[in-house]
Subunit: 142 residues, 2 copies
């Protein structure tokens, strides 16, 4: 399910939210960037467009898109910044190279749904989300 900038914007518009320059620009960036972006990287990409946007506004737009379930937050272990990617991507995890910092998506064979069910049974803990990142050395850096 590859989401486009237009489909993101129209689903927001359906809910009565405005279609602003910034929102259009950010939707375009997320729709064409499959790797998780930090707020700073996002601002860099925005800066290369025509309009300049304020830092606070960009952070507020990120918070808004997260709240609306358009993007999801990711936190890598070795980093201090939060990252964001489209929430509509197929469920996957990340391989993070500690040498070159490159991030690769990975879809696991046996996902963690079974694990989560057994956690509910054994611990009474209802898992709503999980976060799994592999850290190591990528093919190019080995």
């Amino acid at each position: 399910m590859k989401e486009t900038a237009a489909s993101i914007l129209s689903s927001l518009a359906d809910q009565g939210f405005r279609m602003t320059k910034l929102r259009k620009a950010i939707a375009g960036i997320f729709a064409s960037n499959c790797l998780p972006l930090s707020a700073d990287e996002l601002m860099g990409l925005l800066r290369s467009g025509e309009t300049a946007f304020n830092r606070a506004t960009v952070y507020r737009e990120i918070a808004f898109l997260k709240e609306q379930g358009v993007i999801q937050e990711i936190q890598f272990l070795h980093e201090r910044v939060k990252r964001y990617e489209l929430a509509s991507l197929d469920h996957h995890h990340h391989l993070v190279c500690l040498r070159c910092n490159r991030v690769e998506d990975i879809v696991l064979e046996n996902d963690l749904v079974e694990q989560e069910k057994s956690i509910l049974k054994s611990k009474g803990f209802k898992v709503t989300n999980h976060m799994l990142e592999f850290h190591g050395i990528c093919r190019g850096c080995l």
Copy 2:
């Protein structure tokens, strides 16, 4: 393998590092605290002791203990702070309750070693570490 403050300190001393007040206090805290502590929580616990320690020094000691492999860093998705726990604990993951923030340790039945092997084969990526946290609602909050 339950590590004691004394065993941590003596293994550091063997390598020629000093046995300072702060180091002793922190080793004691980690040895008797099985849940991951933030720098700030650690400083709170230290403050309840007799000597006052400086923030910068505590951060430097954390960096040192991490470097020496005594403690390991953990990052929860919903938090901004880094947390630390003894690296010698048996391999486990965490259940983080989004309501009460309580953290529970969990040992998974089938760990991710097989997964990591298959990642090496299929992607040429050598996993050295992974990070898996489950987020949800705990028994008490359900």
